[in-house]
Symmetry: D2
Subunit: 242 residues, 4 copies
């Protein structure tokens, strides 16, 4: 069975900024999606903010094993109804990969329970991503570090709960550090936050970045539980009756 | 400096049910508060749902180091404004102790990022609470287990994120288990969930329960950071300018 | 590529006790191995204490993706040389599944850094195993709990470090609880401790127990990192030279 | 009651290297100890490798609430007997603060269950330590980062288990990162690993470093459990007999 991936993109910068449009002529979501499509066992779709229900209908989410999320300018425009829907699918077992400025999206903040605020600086400086969990499936095929020559800086303190696993930590030329590859579980759903991906740089064309996202999709695509866990009132003797 | 505790109670069952009123003539919040008041270094106030802004004004919260929360019937009546306020104080460093049916409160669900649902049965059965972190300050002075002869059952799966620390696990006469003493951190705030405390039983008169709550208050009352962490734009050279 | 599993058994009780021999005529290791062999993509071997180097030669371990470990009477007889060898293979990425009384083995204690002591009672009482991580690959295909009619009791406090994930918690008829399905990572290796499996009961013939072990093998069989992480002296400029 | 601290130092570099002797004329252990002694509620002693049983007799350890450990050249000379003794005291509740090159000590490796290996470079480069847990008692009174102008570099991958809490992360001028303030629990004992402290630089004279160690002593000095947890055979009915 294929892994069904939906790549969600805000798709605003690409249409406003000539520089972003030059780097990502089909949009950032298409750059991410087309890299994922090289995996024969992935079935990849895209969805964007301007579509009805942001392209994330009930039907679409039911048929999504892993959702990737990139947003920046327009977090506030995400419909609460859609955010609720994504939230419940994550708890049921859908994987979620939150990319870069998605740290500030409604869905990520709702799942974390914190502000997800951070330091930043956009001067296009060198980022080195160091692996702190060699052997983790998300960094399979990656050396013990990789370098992005130009990126936006994100710096600690990153206001998130202590992660289940810290897989990558970045340093920036300016001296800051950032936990840049992080795993969480909420309900049956696996969540991966992955820092790089500012719209002004060709980050999603980088082969290491592509490999991490591809690995993260495989990692997050666990089977959802076959049946819903029983909740609520369990009268005496229910255990023996089963 | 004393530890300033606010004991928050929904205060509904006590006024509706003669049985609850008999067990807790001054209300559950008063039972909890008066046990805490035996600690000379605690300064204990109470607040309840029916008060204006549920007794949790800005002023009050600013002067609270640790808030305890018991609610059940009326989670939906908690004003979003007040929930937001409590939430931001937790992130700033206020401790929060969520008691029993408070698992389903708006504030706990917001901080956890999950549904916080569970199994339950109210037949007044024996609960044994086992310590899984001997030496943890929250269980100081407690033996390796303690018994409540009659309690409501809560059973797994408890839909919460993996806790920072699992301090207590309960078994029930019916065979269920429950993670009943759990710690989390959100921002600078420490959170403790403590399971026992159904309104129909004299649980808050139990000396072990009282001791755990008292210990948890001390544990959760860390000093808030003296100054706010710098967030947002950090232009080149900011590190050297300091 | 198949998952190469080595099932290690102490193989003492089976040859000493007629009751154990009746339940496990080919030995406990063979019962575990033959259940795993139903998976076409597993390549399953066994090894036992009485073999030279306990059957765990360098060659064998190099060709093992996941090792399962059951021991009880003779933990002290395990050669330190072999324990070191297993230890280094785990750090390199070999999965390790520690079964029941294996909690007290040299290898588990070395990897945990604690005594791994616990309470116990062998009266053949009912054990209920509750799932605390629905959706986790280790409990795929398992309902929200399962029951073993007769088992040895293990009770908390179980002296282990806080697990990465608590997947299963048991209750016993006598009222004790135990964290009975636990994950850890050491280096690149994934470790799963799974409680049930006293030699006096037909536990390894139980279909839920077999399913959990099978799932755990798949979960623990991550690919080892392709190249060793660079350690030690990294002179100035090493990053740019690469 | 005072917090009884024992500052343990290898005390070799100080007597071999004129440069180290100049920075730490009384030895590194004395520099650490004298900073701690400014706390009126600390009772501070020192112990060194060359003393009988390394100064860590049964008596001394019984009367130590928190032990700090600095070693480098002579990890192999630490007597196994003494390492065992420290180990058991940690499990019983003694706090342990492992400093800098102590990452490679027998006691830290035994408690971690991993190799504790890392990258390093000693060229006296700038280290920036970033706080990733504002509000944590260990960083009380510290800004969101602090700088050491010259230090040895330690780089990831640091082969340790996923920490309970990552409190500090360092960046180095050369571009490496390192998890430099980490908490663990083993048994009832709290462990803090704190990276800085190469013998060639005046790191232990730095006021932020001193404050972190002082805070860590307070954090690690939890009360030991008053009575030993019952382990081993618990015959039927033991719960009711109590």
């Amino acid at each position: 069975m294929p892994i069904r991936v939906t790549v969600w993109g805000e798709n605003r910068h690409e249409r406003k900024s000539p520089k972003v449009a030059e780097i990502y002529p089909e949009g950032m979501h298409e750059a991410i999606a087309s890299a994922l499509r090289r995996n024969k066992d992935f079935e990849v779709n895209t969805a964007t903010l301007e579509q009805e229900e942001h392209g994330l209908t009930d039907e679409r989410l039911k048929n999504t094993d892993v959702l990737t999320w990139w947003g920046h300018l327009a977090h506030g425009e995400a419909l609460d109804l859609v955010v609720e829907r994504v939230y419940h699918r994550v708890l049921q077992g859908m994987g979620l990969i939150v990319l870069h400025s998605g740290h500030y999206s409604k869905i990520f903040r709702k799942l974390m329970g914190t502000t997800c605020d951070l330091k930043w600086r956009d001067t296009g400086e060198r980022e080195i991503l160091w692996i702190t969990r060699p052997g983790h499936p998300i960094v399979e095929g990656i050396d013990d570090h990789f370098i992005l020559p130009e990126e936006e800086m994100y710096g600690e303190f990153f206001d998130i709960p202590e992660p289940d696993e810290t897989v990558l930590i970045s340093s920036f030329a300016g001296g800051e550090v950032f936990r840049s590859g992080l795993t969480y579980t909420r309900g049956a759903g696996r969540i991966f936050y992955f820092r790089p991906g500012h719209e002004m740089y060709p980050t999603y064309h980088d082969k290491n970045v592509q490999r991490v996202i591809e690995n993260a999709v495989r990692w997050a695509a666990t089977k959802s539980p076959e049946k819903q866990v029983k909740m609520g009132n369990c009268p005496e003797g229910w255990l023996d009756k089963k």
